[in-house]
């Protein structure tokens, strides 16, 4: 095992989740240190998104604990976990379709303290400034007034990423951030992810199917198969790990 879980930003210990008769996750343990970029790979159906859903509180786990910044979160609900600074993006890319890109950004500000007064208030101009900067960062500034639902799939993915950044997270869980994106634009996205990590200090845990992307991006990688943790290590090690190769080839 490379590194240790002490002082980890995110730590999952022995997490299990089943749906009826299907075991989606079985005894999975992983950790992510602050500032790291960690990858999560595995063939389809290996339980990656289920693990994400468990971590962010989308459903309760059957067994195991999950700690974020030292705090036990497995009993918390989705909005509470998001407000602690753990934000996720969705595989199918979810944005607020009928609102403009800029409005999507505005409402993605952190909602840590919400009183009646703040709920009924206006947005201060700093919010728009920040929103426009982030939209510029992902290259959507010109399209900021278009309805989010009218953007192309790739543009929506970028918007979702920008919204996540707007939320000032400590850590981002990204579910297949490059899926469905034009290959020529993928490098740009990887670059932005790296910058978000380096400049903004955001820890990243990334589910990816694109091997080139994840091998380049991640410092450490976990591989899941059949709901269990199969292997863990540096990208070079996993690339040549026979178990990982078998899992992918066997899955076809």
């Amino acid at each position: 095992m490379t590194g240790s879980p002490n002082g980890a930003m995110l730590e999952a210990v022995n997490v299990s989740k089943r749906f009826g008769g299907v075991v989606a996750n079985s005894g999975i343990s992983l950790f992510v240190q602050p500032g790291e970029i960690v990858g999560l790979i595995g063939p389809n159906g290996s339980g990656k998104t289920t693990l994400f859903n468990s971590i962010v509180g989308f459903h309760p786990v059957d067994a195991g604990t999950i700690r974020f910044a030292g705090r036990e979160i497995s009993r918390l609900r989705v909005p509470e976990i998001a407000r602690l600074g753990l934000v996720r993006t969705f595989q199918q890319t979810r944005v607020y379709g009928r609102m403009s890109g800029l409005e999507n950004m505005r409402i993605s500000i952190p909602h840590k303290r919400e009183t009646l007064a703040t709920m009924l208030s206006r947005f201060p101009p700093e919010v728009d400034e920040k929103a426009e900067r982030l939209l510029e960062f992902v290259g959507l500034y010109e399209k900021r007034h278009l309805a989010a639902g009218d953007l192309s799939f790739g543009q929506q993915k970028l918007l979702e990423f920008a919204m996540a950044l707007m939320n000032e997270p400590k850590m981002l869980l990204l579910d297949e951030p490059t899926a469905g994106i034009n290959p020529t634009l993928i490098n740009g996205l990887i670059d932005r992810l790296r910058r978000a990590n380096a400049d903004l200090g955001i820890t990243l845990l990334v589910i990816e199917h694109n091997m080139r992307v994840i091998m380049n991006l991640a410092e450490r990688i976990y591989c899941l198969a059949h709901g269990e943790l199969l292997a863990e290590g540096a990208p070079e090690d996993l690339r040549t790990d026979q178990r990982v190769i078998d899992a992918y080839l066997g899955a076809h």
Binding site: G57, H59, P60, V78
Partner: protein
């Protein structure tokens, strides 16, 4: 609440109420199962369900006023409503099947109002019933009365339910309906004309309601504005029992019938309707609460 004391003093009253409740509950089961069919097959909640029941009741009433025995109203209403249901599907429902669930809810709600008001214009807002001319049975030394028509109605609902189940299991159309309910896309790929299935399902549901309505006219009363209560009862039963669970629907319907009679007695007849609608709220909230503990919600 002195009525509650009465129940304690004379438990035979409890028997009366429960018997009445079970007998009327069987009729609820018919309408509820129809609603479950339409909901399961085409994902439409037919808010006009109760109005179909009332139309059925008025068909039975109409033939009763013509001098024919109202029991013939059961097949007559079923047939009339089958045709009407098909027509309504072709005119209105098919346009809302694949859309937003709220649109189909509102469309059938609009239908419900349209039908209520039409019935009101035609038949006035007086309550009506159709006398089947049958006797009353006296049980337990005359302390419990059961009208024979209610027993006949109970038996008929049983017969209708059996026919329905057989139809769905064995006939081609029935199987097509079940296939579409499970997976409409797959059914279409296999060559099933889903539009026809939808029309048949909706018409079948209407026929079920029609038969139920004719029975209501004979065992109880009908009135243009009482339809919504039947819709709400059907909805509640389906929510409690779950789609595609016929035994569950029957149990829930009988239970609701009994509960209503008890509530009507304990709280007073003027609160019986309040009980039905209030129970709806309670049932939904209870369901929702149970799901929220698992971080889910009613879909």
């Amino acid at each position: 609440m002195s009525n509650l004391q009465l129940l304690v003093d004379a438990p035979i009253l409890l028997v009366q109420l429960i018997v009445d409740g079970l007998l009327v509950g069987a009729i609820f089961a018919l309408a509820a199962y129809g609603m479950a069919l339409v909901w399961g097959v085409m994902n439409v909640i037919n808010v006009a369900q109760g109005e179909f029941v009332m139309i059925g009741g008025y068909v039975a009433y109409a033939i009763y006023t013509l001098g024919i025995h109202p029991l013939f109203g059961v097949p007559a209403a079923a047939l009339f409503l089958f045709v009407l249901g098909w027509a309504i599907y072709r005119l209105v429902i098919f346009r809302v099947v694949d859309r937003d669930l709220f649109i189909s809810l509102l469309a059938t709600f609009g239908l419900s109002i349209l039908i209520q008001q039409l019935l009101n214009q035609i038949f006035t807002s007086d309550v009506q019933s159709a006398d089947a001319g049958l006797d009353t049975l006296f049980l337990f030394n005359g302390l419990v009365t059961v009208s024979e028509i209610k027993l006949v109605a109970f038996a008929l609902t049983f017969v209708i339910a059996v026919c329905l189940v057989v139809f769905l299991k064995s006939s081609r159309l029935g199987q097509a309906i079940r296939a579409t309910a499970q997976n409409a896309r797959a059914a279409r790929i296999l060559g099933i004309d889903t539009d026809r299935v939808y029309a048949a399902t909706y018409a079948l549901n209407a026929a079920l309601c029609g038969a139920a309505g004719a029975l209501v006219a004979m065992t109880w009363v009908i009135q243009p504005f009482q339809g919504l209560a039947y819709t709400v009862r059907s909805f509640m039963i389906v929510v409690v029992a779950g789609l595609g669970n016929l035994p569950g629907v029957i149990v829930a319907a009988l239970g609701l019938g009994a509960a209503e009679q008890l509530a009507g007695f304990i709280l007073g007849a003027e609160f019986q309707i309040a009980f039905v609608f209030g129970l709806l709220v309670v049932v939904l909230l209870a369901r929702s609460y149970r799901l929220r503990r698992k971080r889910q919600y009613l879909k």
